[in-house]
Amino acid sequence: MNKFKQNFMGLGLIKLLIYGFFLLFLIIPLLSVFLVAFTDEPINVFGSLVSWEQMQITIDQLKNATLDNFKAMFTYGSYFRGLINSLKLSLIVSLWVLIICIPIAYGIARTKMPFKRTISALCTVPLVIPTFISAYAFIIMFGRSGWVTYIYEKMGGEGMLIDPYSMTGIAIVQIFFFFPYALWPMVAAFKISDISLEEASRNMGSRGWLTFITVTFPLALPGMLSTLLVIFAVSFSDFGTPIILAPNDLNLIVVDAYREISGFFNWGGAAILTVIMIAVAGVVYWLQNYLLKDKNYDVLSGKPKQVKLNKNKALTIPLTIFSGIVVLIPILAMITVFLQSIATTWGRDPLPSGYTFDHYRTIFTSSLGNIQNSLVLAGGALILSAVIATFVSYFVVRQRSTTLDFMTTIPLIVPGIAFGIALIQTFNTAPLQLTGTALILIIAYSIRRLPYMVRSTVGTMRAIKQDIEEAAVSLGASTLTAATTVVGPLMLPGIAAGSILVFVTVIKETSVSILMAPAEWAPMSLAIFQNVLRAEYYSAAAMSVILVIIVLVLQAIANKLSGGNKSHE
C-alpha cells in the first residue's frame, strides 16, 4: 500500500476529523457570535456554504453590519452596568478569598495547628457542590424563613442578617464556595518560598511576625496574585450563583446574556455580551500566564527543604478557630439542604417540624427521568471527550501538534454561558439544526471539559515511551493498530481518571444545561433550578442531595484511580 494512502486511512483521517470537530463546534460558533455582534441577527454559516441564496443573505447581513451593539454596550445603561457589576463582584470575591486564605494557607503550610488534617480534608467539600445548590442553600439559611434569620431575630435583630438576593449574598456564596480553588496553590506558595531566607532574617534578630511581613509574604506574592486571577475568572464565569440569587434590578453580565437570549431572543444583545465576556476572560487568562511566565520553577522542582513548623499555641489556636469557621459555613449549608430534603415542613424554626422520606420517594417516581438524563448526557460526554482527548494527546505528544494543543485550551477561557450562546446561535437553523437536541448538549459538555481530560491523558501519554509504540509498528502493526492495542491500554488509567472528572463536572454543570437542555432531556441540574424557581424547595433539596452523593462517590473513585496511576512511569 502507498505510504500516504495508508497514513490517510488511519491516524491522518482521525486527525482530520478532530480538526473538523473543533472547527465546527468551537471555532465557527465563536467566530459566528462575534459576527452576530455586528449584524444584530443570527447568520447562517452552514446554510451559506450549501446554498447560494443563503450566501447572498449572509453577505447582505455583513454589509449592513453596524457598531450599534458596541455603542449600546458602552452607552446603553444596563449592559454597561452589568459588566461593571460583574467586574466589581469578581474583584470583591477574589480579594476576600485572598484575605481568608492567607491565614488558612499559612496554618496548613507552616504551623502545627490542631485539627490540621481535618480542616484540610473539609476544605475540599465546597469543590464538589455545584454553585446553584450552594446558592439555594443560602436562601434556605438566610432567606426570610431561614433558620439563621430565626436565630438572628431571636437575638434581637431585625429583618434578615444578610439578604441572599443581593450582590452581598452572591459574593458571600462565591467566597465560601470558591476559596478552596485558591487555598491549595497558596499552601504550595507558602511551602516553596525560600525558607533559608527566612532563617537568615530570623538570625539577624527579626521577630517572627516581622519576618512574615517582610520576607515570607513578599516571596509568596506572585503566587498569590495568580491565585487571585484564578478566583476572578471563576467568579466572573460563574452562572449558578447569580442566576439563583440576582434580583431583577441587579445587572450581572452572565445573567443579562442569559435573559437576552432565553427571554427576548435578542441575538445581537446576547452576542455583544458574549464577546465582552470572552474578552474579559481572555485578558484574565493572559495576565495569569504572564505572571507565571517568569516564575522560577527551580524552587518547585528542587528538593523540598524541611520546614520548621510553628508550634506557638497563641498563633495556632486562633488559626484553627478561624479555619474552622470558614469551613463550617459550606458544611452547615449542606446540612441545611439535607435537613430540608427530609423535612415534612420547615417554617421559621431552627429545625424542621417533622421528618420524612417522601421527597425522595417523589423524586424516584416522578423525576427519575432527570437522573437518567444526567447520567446519559454525562456518559455521552465522557465517551466523546475520552475518545477525542486520547487522540489529541497522541497528536500533541507524538506529533507535537501545537494547533491542537492550543485549541484544547480555548474552552478553558470561554465562560460556559458564552459558549452556550455561541452554539445556540450557530446551530439554530437548517442545514445543521442541532439546537435543542441531546447531541449538541453532549458536544457542548465535552468541549467544555476537554481541557481537563486532555491534561490527564497528555500526562499519561508522556509517560509511555515512544519506542514501545515503534516496537509495535516494527512488528507489523499499523500506527492505528499500535495506538489501539498498545498505547491505548497503557493510557487506560489516565483516561479513566479524566473520564470520571468529566462525568462529575458534567453532572454539576449549570450554565450549558440551563441554557441549552430541551425539556425532554432536562438533567438534574436543570430540574433543581426549575424547582428552586417554582419555590419547590423540598424536592429541589432531595435532588441536590442525590446529585452531591453521585458526585462524591465518583470523585472518591477518581482519587483512588489517579493515586494508583503511577505504576507505568
Binding site: 502507498n2 519506542d467 516494527s474 512488528l475 493498530t481
Partner: protein, 373 residues
C-alpha cells in the same frame, strides 16, 4: 531473508546533516556491525532502514526491493531496542505473539478480526490458535524462557527481558534483524553471555543482522563485517581482522584496538622499504606510499622488548620505562623514546619479572608491522 543495499543515503534534521554518503552492501545472512562513537549517526542509519526516519536522499533496498514507499510496518524488519521496548501490559507470551496476531489480523474476515483484536487486548478472553501457540512456545524454548511465558515482563531480569525482545523480533521471521545497542543495559558478565547467545542464534537461523554498538570489542567479537562511522560518514568497511591490521585512518587505528600514532615525513626508500623521519629518529616500513606527510601506526603488541637478544627486527630504539601496568596475561609499558611516548604490550608468563620504572630498554619493530596512513 534478505540483503540490504544502501546507496548514497543522506539524512538532514532541520537543515543539519546527520548522515551523508552512506553506502553499504550487506549480504544475505551476514552479521554486520555499525560501530562508532556516540552521536555519529548509527541509530539514525538503523531507523532509516526500519522506516522510522525518511531519508533526505538516497535509496535503501531490502532483498532487492526498494523500500522507499514502504511504511515501517510493511518492511518486515525485526527490531531489538536498547530499552527492549517490551509491552508492559502484556505477559511474555503475548509480547512474543504480537506480530503473529498482526498477521492474522491482516488476512482474516471481519469476525475473526474482531476476535484477534480482542485477544490482543486481553488474551484470556480469546484463545490462541494452535499454530501460534506452538510457534511462540518453540521460540521461547529456543531462548530458554519457556517457564516464564506467563510472567509479566516487569517480573523478568534484564537478560531475560533482552531475550524476550529477541524472541519477539525473531518470531516474525524478519528479512533483517536490527539491533540498537542491545547489550548496553546489561552488566559486564551478562553481556558476554548474551554476545554468545545472539551470535549462536544468528548463525543457526542465518538471519541478516545489523548490530549497532559503540563498543569495538563487541563489534570485533561478534560481527562478520564492521562499518566504522564518524560524524555521519562511513570511514571504513571490513572484516574485524581487516580493520585491525589495515585501518585506513588514524581514527580507526585508535578506535579499533589500541595504536601508537606518530606523525612523520617520508625521506626516501631503500630495498623496497619506505624510510620515515619522526623527530630525530628514522623508521623503516614495508608499506608503500606516495604521500610525503604520513601517520605512522604501530600496534603495542608489535613492539618487542629485546632482552639482550640480537637486534634483527630492522628497526630498533632505546627507551626509558615511564610506567608499567600489569593487565593479567600482558604487561603494558609506557615508554619514552626521545620526545615520543609509546605503548608496548608484552606477554606475561608467571615468573617473569616486570621491569622497573626508569629502567632503560631496547625495542625492536619489524618493518612489516609499521603501517603508514
Amino acid at each position: 531473508m534478505g540483503s540490504v543495499l544502501i546507496e548514497q543515503l543522506r539524512k538532514d534534521f532541520s537543515g543539519l546533516t546527520v548522515l551523508q554518503d552512506i553506502n553499504l552492501d550487506i549480504k544475505e545472512g551476514e552479521f554486520f556491525a555499525l560501530l562508532g562513537p556516540s552521536g555519529c549517526g548509527k541509530t539514525t542509519t538503523m531507523r532509516c532502514i526500519a522506516g522510522f526516519e525518511t531519508p533526505t536522499s538516497g535509496t535503501i533496498k531490502i532483498g532487492d526491493k526498494n523500500v522507499a514507499n514502504l511504511a515501517p510496518n510493511e518492511r518486515n524488519c525485526g527490531m531489538v531496542f536498547q530499552s527492549y521496548a517490551l509491552f508492559p501490559h502484556m505477559n511474555v507470551f503475548d509480547n512474543v505473539a504480537y506480530s503473529l496476531n498482526i498477521k492474522e489480523l491482516k488476512k482474516s474476515n471481519f469476525f475473526k478480526k474482531a476476535g484477534v483484536y480482542t485477544r490482543m487486548l486481553n488474551s484470556k478472553i480469546v484463545k490462541y490458535p494452535q499454530h501460534i501457540e506452538r510457534k511462540v512456545m518453540d521460540i521461547l524454548e529456543y531462548v530458554e524462557l519457556t517457564e516464564h511465558a506467563k510472567k509479566l515482563t516487569s517480573e523478568l531480569s534484564g537478560g531475560q527481558q533482552q531475550r524476550v525482545a529477541l524472541a519477539r523480533a525473531l518470531v516474525m521471521e524478519p528479512e533483517v534483524l536490527l539491533m540498537d545497542e542491545p547489550l548496553s543495559n546489561l552488566d559486564l558478565k551478562l553481556r558476554h553471555t548474551m554476545r554468545n547467545t545472539i551470535r549462536r542464534i544468528q548463525q543457526d537461523l542465518k538471519i541478516t543482522t545489523i548490530f549497532v554498538t559503540h563498543d569495538q570489542e563487541e563489534a570485533m567479537s561478534m560481527a562478520d563485517r564492521i562499518a566504522v562511522m564518524k560524524d555521519g560518514k562511513i570511514l571504513q568497511v571490513g572484516t574485524p581482522t581487516d580493520l585491525y591490521s589495515n585501518p585506513n585512518t588514524p581514527f580507526i587505528a585508535d578506535f579499533v584496538g589500541t595504536s601508537n600514532i606518530l606523525s612523520g615525513k617520508v625521506v626516501g626508500s631503500e630495498k623496497g622499504e619506505t624510510i620515515v623521519q619522526i623527530g630525530n629518529q628514522q623508521i623503516k616500513s614495508s608499506a608503500q606510499t606516495d604521500k610525503k606527510d604520513v601517520q605512522v601506526i604501530i600496534r603495542p603488541e608489535n613492539i618487542n622488548v629485546l632482552n639482550g637478544a640480537p637486534d634483527n627486527f630492522g628497526n630498533s630504539f632505546e627507551g626509558t620505562i615511564h610506567l608499567a601496568t600489569y593487565l593479567g596475561s600482558i604487561v603494558r609499558y609506557d615508554v619514552r623514546v626521545g620526545e615520543h611516548q609509546l605503548l608496548i604490550d608484552t606477554t606475561y608468563e608467571s615468573g617473569d619479572s616486570i621491569k622497573k620504572n626508569g629502567s632503560t630498554i631496547r625495542l625492536g619493530v619489524s618493518p612489516e608491522r609499521v603501517l603508514l596512513i
